[in-house]
């Protein structure tokens, strides 16, 4: 397994270089995972991108890595470099040479830049060239990548030159065997998986307000709005975004919003409107540390209970907590079906780590996927202006939707409690009928959403319990040991909790969550009475690192 980090100041393009390198390894047959870190500023500061590549599957970042490419000093001072590592750095430009530890390979960025008379951005390609040489790989493969990346001929030339210079600089070799070329599998981020899932599902209305780490969903969908006839709106705020999406859904669109916890805070009121008006909606919430603005570019799993309980009073929602890019893709597709079958809000809960990191996967198969729009009234042309009992149960607690424009389907979609036609009423019996009907859906939804799943040897000594992206670290750990297995929650609500309880009982359980208060632990206790005593929690804005987590688990529980 190779673990390479590229570090340097923000604004140098480290993120795209990281991705290029990831793809490069992937094309050479490796499985890659790319984990980016950056602060909330545009230029300066410290950015880095960690690549994990292996012939086996890889899923998660490691704390300890092997090679550091330092684009400037800032990487050297920000990273812990130890003697076992290889450091690629511009020795001459390094102010404090005592920082140069490990096996130092000189990469004279400055000299090369001035020789080529190009600007700093070219450092990336120099570094890429150097790495290609170090791993004894085919330069053509990199060159192809550069061509794809720089459609502008002039830019390509510069970077091509820079890469060659980098390539020529390095004499050392690392033993590294290329398996088979792979043009099949894909490397993509969590947000890209979500976007692709939504596109496949036929999303045609997307309203949002930019917020890290959800913004790239907007960028992606906006980029493709014309090819797929999607209306994408960057609204004046998140309140507008969710209400617009609700309006669109009411009018018959498949609509989605995407935001982070802060933006979702502003959607809380609208969430309740979607719930009582039974307007289907898909909400992507990609978590970052809070409270409030918190740490905008970092990761955390701190919003689970918020999302489960948001908005006044009680209603049914679905909270999906996918753990990898495949789940992000397929669950997003299914989220639209669930929303439209049950007329409810459906959440995709992601986090910065999952949304913005890169993962390798097989291209998504979509043949078996089917769009299910639920019950929609076909209309009665004879009586076009007749009211329709849209809030009367047809089956499973669900009524028949009617889309404005449909003859004979008139009704009022209400934020108030209402009768079967949507007219406001305070009547006590009606209230109970409507609440019961809306909650009845739960019984059917539980069968339609994924149940917690055990990964690894069934009778391992210790069972980690986790949700969302922690699946990635646990998959990595399964590669190391079979003394640990884990139960992953790909959805949290609504579940068949008696089944969950049976699954959890009589195991040596330990909760692993990327938050401070162990929210899944709470939710399990709340629903089963089972209190999992052991917890491993992390809430410093970083995801768990596979090596770190493995140590913690063995320390805590083995």
């Amino acid at each position: 397994m190779l673990k390479i980090k590229i570090g340097g100041p923000a604004g140098l393009g480290i993120m795209s270089t990281g991705l290029m390198l990831s793809k490069l390894f992937k094309r050479l047959g490796y499985t890659v995972h790319g984990y980016p870190e950056y602060p909330s500023l545009i230029r300066g500061g410290y950015n880095n991108y960690l690549i994990i590549a292996d012939t086996n599957e890889v899923y998660a970042p490691y704390k300890k890595y092997d090679i550091l490419v330092a684009l400037t000093d800032v990487a050297i001072t920000n990273e812990k470099i130890d003697e076992g590592m290889i450091l690629l750095a511009d020795i001459e430009s390094t102010k404090d040479k005592t920082n140069l530890k490990g096996k130092v390979l000189d990469l004279p960025f400055k000299k090369i830049l001035s020789k080529l008379e190009v600007n700093e951005i070219a450092k990336n390609s120099i570094a890429l060239g150097a790495l290609i040489k170090l791993f004894n790989l085919d330069f053509d493969c990199l060159d192809e990548m550069l061509k794809e990346n720089y459609s502008n001929e002039k830019l390509y030339k510069i970077n091509h030159q820079a890469a060659i210079e980098g390539y020529n600089t390095i004499q050392e070799r690392i033993n590294f065997s290329v398996s088979k070329k792979d043009t099949e599998r894909i490397v993509l981020s969590g947000n890209e998986a979500i976007s692709l899932g939504a596109i496949t599902a036929g999303v045609n209305f997307f309203a949002t307000y930019p917020m890290t780490p959800a913004s790239s969903i907007l960028h992606f969908l906006a980029e493709h709005e014309k090819s797929f006839n999607i209306i994408t709106k960057h609204t004046e705020d998140e309140i507008s975004a969710i209400n617009m999406a609700i309006g669109a859904s009411y009018a018959g669109a498949r609509s989605m919003v995407a935001t982070s916890g802060g933006g979702f805070s502003l959607m809380v009121e609208g969430l309740g409107l979607a719930a009582i008006a039974e307007t289907p909606i898909v909400i992507v919430e990609s978590q970052r540390p809070g409270p409030a603005t918190g740490m905008p570019t970092w990761t955390e799993q701190g919003d689970l209970k918020f999302v489960l309980n948001a908005s006044q009073d009680e209603f049914v929602r679905v909270v999906l907590t996918p753990g990898d890019v495949e789940e992000l893709f397929y669950f997003t597709f299914e989220a639209f079906n669930l929303a439209e079958k049950y007329h409810i809000p459906v959440f995709i809960l992601s986090d910065k780590f999952l949304s913005e990191s890169h993962f390798t996967t097989k291209p998504f198969k979509t043949d078996h996927l089917q769009i299910d729009r639920g019950l929609i009234f076909g209309g009665d042309p004879e009586k076009p202006m007749e009211f329709f009992p849209r809030y009367k149960e047809v089956e499973k607690g669900v009524g028949m939707r009617t889309i404005p424009g449909t003859p004979g389907g008139l009704y009022k979609a209400p934020g108030n409690e209402h009768d079967e036609y949507g007219f406001v009423t305070d009547n006590a019996e009606n209230r109970v009928i409507q609440q019961k009907r809306r909650f009845k859906k739960i019984n059917y939804i539980t069968n339609d959403i994924p149940h917690p799943k055990l990964y690894g040897k069934i009778d391992a000594e210790i069972t980690v319990v986790c949700w969302g992206s922690v699946k990635m670290q646990m998959m990595e750990i399964l590669k190391i040991t079979d003394r640990i297995n884990f139960i992953h929650f790909p959805a949290i609500y609504p579940l068949d909790w008696s089944k969950v309880k049976t699954m959890l009982e009589n195991r040596n359980l330990i909760i692993v969550e990327n938050n401070m208060t162990a929210q899944l632990k709470s939710v399990i206790a709340e629903n089963t009475g089972l209190i999992i005593e052991k917890t491993i929690l992390k809430y410093d804005g970083r995801p768990f690192f596979a090596d770190e987590l493995y140590e913690k688990i063995t320390g805590e529980a083995l």
Partner: protein, 282 residues
């Protein structure tokens, strides 16, 4: 179609004498005369006495949240721009809570007709001052008199670039109906503020108050003239009724290639093929 055909069958529970009755009748009259089928109309309401409007109309309707009519209406219109979208909301709803959305809705210029029932008060919550209440007036929330400067809603919408600005009055039903008709027919965002006496809490602004001040804009007035419009909007003692400003600007729905040929609704929802796109991730 006749006006009565648009009665929903629910009896309005506004206070006897409330200015909302006239608005109700004006809306019904307007859509009847324009002969739009109720199935092709979506009435969108905010929360307030004003917002109850949609319950009394035989059309599709969405009773949204307080202050959130604009985004919901935008979502509806973009999804199916063949629908006639009419919005009713209060001065609190639209100029208070909803002010941000209002301005940005104007910028979008969708073909939506927005009726703001300006009763200078929060009616449904029993009489707090609204953004349009004059300085010094006492209310439940300002027992010692309002100190915020009152808002001139028409001026704000002019400044934000509204393409249709009009003022109607509950005390002049026929005229109000004609304005609403014109608003619906205007291809763009129509902002119609309606002087709506609240006989229970907004007593300062009663029929007598308005009857003394309002006048119909002359027939030869050119609503395309910005300076003239500004003059009417900034009048102090008299209150002009009619279409104050009207210009043509492409609507948002006309500028979206996604819905150039067909509404989103008419395109339907189909599973899309992403296989070609996936190649770029290889």
């Amino acid at each position: 179609m006749k006006s009565v055909d648009f009665n929903s069958g629910k009896i309005p529970n506004w206070c006897p004498g409330c200015g909302n009755f006239a608005i109700w009748n004006a809306i019904k009259g307007a859509i009847a005369e324009l002969d739009i089928n109720g199935k092709d109309i979506v009435n969108i309401s905010g929360i307030g006495c004003s917002g109850k409007m949609l319950n009394y109309l035989r059309t599709y309707g969405f009773h949204t949240l307080h202050g959130r009519t604009m985004p919901v209406a935008t979502g509806v219109k973009l999804t199916n721009h063949k629908l006639t979208v009419i919005v009713n909301g209060g001065d609190g709803d639209g100029y208070g809570m909803g002010m941000g959305h209002f301005i940005h809705a104007i910028r979008r210029n969708l073909n939506i007709t927005y009726l703001i029932h300006n009763n200078h008060v929060y009616g449904l919550t029993t009489g707090q001052a609204s953004p349009t209440t004059d300085k010094g007036l006492k209310s439940k929330s300002t027992p010692h008199g309002v100190i915020d400067e009152p808002l001139n809603g028409l001026f704000v919408s002019l400044s934000a670039g509204a393409t249709f600005i009009a003022r109607g009055y509950s005390g002049d039903l026929e005229h109000l109906k004609s304005i609403i008709k014109a608003g619906i027919m205007h291809n763009g965002f129509s902002h119609i503020e309606i002087l709506q006496p609240c006989v229970t809490f907004g007593k300062h602004y009663g029929y007598e108050y308005y009857d003394e001040r309002v006048y119909r804009i002359a027939d030869d007035y050119d609503p395309g003239n910005f300076e003239e419009a500004l003059k009417l909007i900034r009048e102090k003692d008299k209150i002009a009724l009619g279409i104050i400003y009207k210009v043509d600007r492409p609507t948002q729905e006309e500028q979206l290639p996604q819905i150039k040929n067909k509404t989103l609704i008419d395109q339907g929802i189909v599973k899309r093929d992403i296989s070609a796109m996936l190649k770029s991730f290889a």
